[in-house]
Every structure is written in structure tokens, then in C-alpha cells.
Symmetry: C2
């Protein structure tokens, strides 16, 4: 069975493993901290590939940052990683085929092939973590836009320049729906600058009134974003993934979204492709799994 050496690189960690065309991880998962310098990042890539390329047919890389439409390299700049990283020459890493995709797009593809959006032509995946990632599967294909950067969940939640977003603009969905956004919402409501997302989630789980008020504000911000996306895309499903997704209530979100939209009823679900969906999705894409169907 064809196999990929899958590597997932983010601002904090680098993971690698061997993934087969069923999307199964069939080796131990290796983990590295993402080094600070570009030279060290390149060294880790070389080490991983030298050690494991003979076990696989292709090299599949899931990366932070927008990836071009030819799946060969990164567009523009990315946050939270060595500033030269976007110049990375992925294609020279191996004599085997090297395939690169954005981590959120790769994770969306994993959900599309083996996870919560399996078999559904149109799905939007949103990762709720420290930030917010987005992946668009439209008519059974990853939609990447003009240059590959589509799917950025930076649409406005308000227009009065209330909260700066990590992207440099103001009041994006990411600035409210992310873990960082939840912390800022908590600070605003509690007036406590030291409050954490753990305080909010823990307090909400224990029915603390203030923590529940903060949680409900965060949940409503997510809800308002989902309404917009459902009206824009008329999707089969919106998949919530990432570390904070487990604290959402998909049944409530589905019911409420469907009361507010003008498009046809949709579903909000949690992702089910697991924590390594970036590696899995990149491997499936690099192996061509799912790419034979209609566009």
C-alpha cells in the first residue's frame, strides 16, 4: 500500500510519521520543538527525510503559512516562525515527490476523506486553537483562491476598531473565536488581566456565573461567524477542530445557525480525524487519495 512520510510543521512543534493511503499512522510519531533559526529548521527537515524517506513513496508536508497553488512552496510571510522560513526550498529536500499544503487545508482534507465531513462535497473547517485556521472544501476540492491563500478566517465581527487582530487589522473572527480571543473577552468582562482560558472553561464547566457569561459571549461570537459562513457557502457541514472545539456544543450551534440563515439547513460538527489531521491530510493529498472524483 502506498505510504507517505508526513511532516507537520508549526510555530511550536514539528511532527513526523509514516501515513498510509487509508490515512492510518503506521509508525511512531516523532516530535521536535520548532527551532528559532531557519538553518536549524532546514537541518531538522534533512534529518527527518534522510532517516525515513526510504520507508515512503512520497514526502507530504503540512505547514503553517499559505502554500502556493502548485503545492511547492510558501507564499509571503508567516507568523511565529523564523522569518526566512517562507523561502524554504521544499522541492530540493528529496529525490522523491515532495508535496506541500497549508496545515488547515490539509486537516480539512483529512476530515473530508476519513473524518466528520467524509463523503460531503462542500465543507468548511475551522480550527479553534491559539489562533483560528480555516480550510474550504468546495465541490470535493480544496479551494485555494487566486494564489493559494484562501480560507483565512479574517472577516470582521465589528467595525469600530475595538480589538486589534494578530493579522494587523481589527476585529477579525480570529480575534474573538480563538483561544487568544477568548482570553481577551475574559479580560474585558472580568476586568482581570491574569485570567486564562482554563479559568473560563473550568469555571463554565462548574456553572460559575461570571465564567459562564464569558463562555456564552465567546460561543456567540463563534455562532455569528458560522451564520455568515453558512450564508456565503451553503455548505453540507461546518467542521470545528482544534483544541477548543471540544468545548463547543455542535447541537446548539447547528440549531441556532439554522434559525438565522437564508440558505438551506447545514450541520455544525466536531472534527474526528484527530490531533494529527494535518499530517494525515497532507499524506492523503500527496498520495492522491480522493482526487479522482468530480471537481
Amino acid at each position: 500500500m502506498p505510504k507517505a512520510l508526513a511532516i507537520d510543521i508549526g510555530g511550536t512543534k514539528i511532527y513526523n510519521s509514516i501515513v498510509n493511503e487509508k490515512g492510518e499512522i503506521i509508525s511512531e510519531i516523532e516530535k521536535h520543538h520548532t527551532p528559532k533559526t531557519f538553518e536549524e529548521i532546514k537541518e531538522i527537515f534533512k534529518e527527518i527525510i534522510t532517516a525515513h524517506e526510504n520507508e515512503a513513496d512520497v514526502i507530504a508536508i503540512s505547514t503553517c503559512g499559505a502554500v502556493n497553488n502548485s503545492n511547492t512552496g510558501i507564499l509571503g510571510s508567516t507568523g511565529n516562525i523564523a522569518k526566512e522560513y517562507p523561502t524554504m526550498d521544499f522541492m530540493s529536500l528529496s529525490k522523491k515527490k515532495v508535496f506541500v499544503e497549508n496545515d488547515a487545508n490539509a486537516a480539512a482534507w483529512a476530515e473530508h476523506i476519513i473524518g466528520s465531513s467524509k463523503g460531503l462535497p462542500t465543507s468548511i473547517m475551522i480550527t479553534l486553537g491559539t489562533g483560528v485556521g480555516g480550510g474550504l472544501i468546495l465541490n470535493n476540492r480544496i479551494f485555494k483562491g487566486k494564489n493559494g491563500a484562501a480560507g483565512e478566517m479574517h472577516f470582521k465581527m465589528r467595525t469600530d476598531k475595538h480589538r486589534k487582530c494578530t493579522c494587523g487589522s481589527w476585529d477579525c473572527f480570529e480575534a474573538y473565536a480563538s483561544g487568544s480571543g477568548l482570553k481577551k473577552t475574559a479580560e474585558e468582562i472580568s476586568k482581570n488581566p491574569n485570567i486564562t482560558t482554563y479559568d473560563v472553561i473550568g469555571g463554565w464547566q462548574k456553572n460559575d456565573n461570571l465564567m459562564t457569561e464569558i463562555y456564552k459571549k465567546w460561543e456567540n461570537d463563534i455562532l455569528e461567524g458560522l451564520i455568515g459562513l453558512a450564508n456565503i457557502f451553503d455548505p453540507d457541514v461546518i467542521v470545528l477542530s482544534g483544541s477548543l472545539a471540544e468545548f463547543t456544543n455542535p447541537e446548539y450551534l447547528t440549531e441556532t445557525v439554522n434559525k438565522e440563515i437564508v440558505t438551506t439547513p447545514t450541520k455544525i460538527v466536531k472534527g474526528s480525524a484527530g490531533n494529527y489531521s494535518g499530517m494525515i491530510g497532507a499524506a492523503l493529498l500527496a498520495l492522491g487519495v480522493g482526487l479522482g472524483g468530480d471537481k
Copy 2:
């Protein structure tokens, strides 16, 4: 040269003409007021088709309301027209091929084939009229979503339930960027319930301070929506159409959007397919023009 009998039906007017496969209107344009009852609407359709079907190869209908993915009929309900209209059996209107598409989607296709987004794979069209319409051309195809309803420009501009939208939800882009939205913004800022969009546009053109303040608020609301769409789609172009588009400043919008987005630079332009782009686009689609390329 193949020709279509094109009919455009909205809440106020019904237009019809013969359109060739170059997108040229080659007959006099007939106009009717849209009648109040469903029976009268059906009668007008029959009259038009009986009188003109022999002049054309296909019947092309551009209609208000979401149209299904098989382009045969309307999904769910539509505003501003007889409530039974969505049950219309378009397919029985003629023995010739009958093709139906949503008016904003049809207009977006006209821009894609003969207008401002000609030759560009990914464009978003926004019609700024009494309401706001949307059409998505993604990878050289109209993107219609799960059931055909995609492209609704009902994403939130704020989350504090400030202004009710015609869709029944709150604070959608349509409720701020449309002509009706501009009037409401003008009422809020001027405290004058009788102010009209003509007052605002006329006053802004004469550099009146208050009218310019209102115009700038409306322009900023449009801008904030465009930033979100550019980040979601990474489009080649966003086309502004409809009666209010002529009062926008595409150069300013382009420059400002490109300062705020994380995706790659895009362009904001005015539509150039004209007032009858719905008829033209429906005719081009019914005749298959542009549908041979890559998806």
C-alpha cells in the same frame, strides 16, 4: 449564431429580449411590471414565451430567489414577489430547453464572460441596490453550494443586535451596504427619519459635511465586508454592480483592502456588463458559453 430568449424577473420588473452567444442583446427589450399574483406572473411568462420562443434556441431565465443545482426551479421562499412563485414549474413553459439561474449568479457570469472579471478564474460579484446580491465565480464556475443557495451576503457587521436585516437575522452586510442600509445609517447619523439615499449621495457630491460623514460610514461598511471576502476567497477581483456601485470609489477601496488583508493583493472594480447583466448572463449560461474550460 445560437440565441436565447432571456427573461429577467425581479420583485418589481420583468424584462425580456433575445441575446446571442456573444452576450449581445439583439432585439428590443420588453418590460413589464411584476404582477402581484402568481397566476398573473405565469400568464406573463406564457405570453413572452409564446411570442418569442421561435426566435431563439433556448429559454434563459434570470430570477430573484435561490435556484437549485439542476437549474430547473427555485429553492425555498423569496421576498418581494407572490408567495407561490417558488413553486413555478419553469420546465413546462416551453418544449425548448429552459434554463434557470439566480439573478446575481447570472449577472456574475455576464461579468465573467464579457465584463469586468473576464478571463479571471475567481471573482466575487456584489450588487449594491435596494438590497445586496452576491455571486461567486470560483475556478471559472458559479459556486452554488450544497443546494444552490450560496453567495448570500448575509455575514455579520456587528454582534450586538443593532439593526434588523430583511433576512430576519441581525446586522448583516446587506443591512449596512445596501441602499436600504445607507438610508438607515443616514437616519441614525442625521436623526432625520425622512432622509433619502438621494440626499446623501447628492450632498456628498456637493461636499456637504454631514452627508459626507454618512457616505463615509457607508463606504467603510462596504470596505469592512470586502476585507472579509478577500481574506476568505483570495479572489482575482471583487466586482461591484447595481445602482449604487457608480457612487463607490474602486481605487480607494482596492488600496485600502490590500492594506488590511492577509491574502494576496486583489482588485475592486465596477461591473461593466451593464443594467441587463442578469439577462445576458442567463443567456450565456443557457447557451453553454464559458462552460467548456477547466473547473
